[in-house]
Symmetry: C2
Subunit: 107 residues, 2 copies
DNA sequence: TTGATATATAAGTGAACACTTATATATTGA
DNA sequence: TCAATATATAAGTGTTCACTTATATATCAA
């Protein structure tokens, strides 16, 4: 169980606002497919397809529970994105520093 | 100049590996379009189109310099992505904590 | 001025995307 | 057993994407 997920798939998965919202919902509580679909004005299959993309990206796990599927967040793949972003962190820190300096100068 | 950039555009921009690599290049040094295109096995217009997407997302700025265009990173829009990711940070911290506990237990 | 260089835009193409309706499958409860 | 519920998959469609070649524009250098 190498937890090997396509690194590309994560970026693709979070590129869609509906899927990002679903992930946010799952960060609050695990949910059924129906619950995850309910806030969105899309058909049930459309929601199911979004959940599939999230599954393929390794961002959620599913467990059958009666006739429901309980979806649970697996945030691990998001770590890749976070790590990538860290390459840029010093830049916006620098910008904020520059702003801070400027504010100090005029204050 | 409200620096208002489409929030969606950022996620779309970083969804492509070539564009992510370009952003990484620009985090090292500002570069011309040709320099940015050179590592990739794509046509000059394809690279130019990628740069356009990055521009539209507000991730780069351009300055004409003779017959070159100097591209410079503007990491600000990435902050949105970073902020969004922070909703999940506690989860992977929790996971790492659990791992840490486990390691402590067996060590 | 003319040719080379740097870059962008236009137009076209195939693949991927997000969605739909229709249908299949499994589970529950009457 | 049968109808309702929960979900996934299949098939089709219009849009977006990443790419190509062709072309336009601006600058530089001879």
């Amino acid at each position: 169980m190498t937890s090997s997920h396509n690194r590309e798939a994560v970026y693709r998965a979070i590129a869609d606002p509906t899927r990002r919202a679903m992930l946010l919902m799952l960060s609050k509580k695990e949910s059924s497919a129906t619950e995850l679909a309910s806030p969105f004005d899309i058909s049930q299959p459309a929601a199911s397809q979004h959940l599939r993309v999230l599954r393929d990206a390794g961002l959620v796990t599913v467990e059958r529970k009666g006739r429901e599927r309980r979806y649970r967040l697996d945030p691990a793949p998001l770590h890749d994105v976070h790590n990538w972003l860290e390459h840029f962190e010093r830049f916006w820190n620098a910008k904020l520093d520059a702003l801070g300096n400027y504010l100090n100068r005029i204050a």
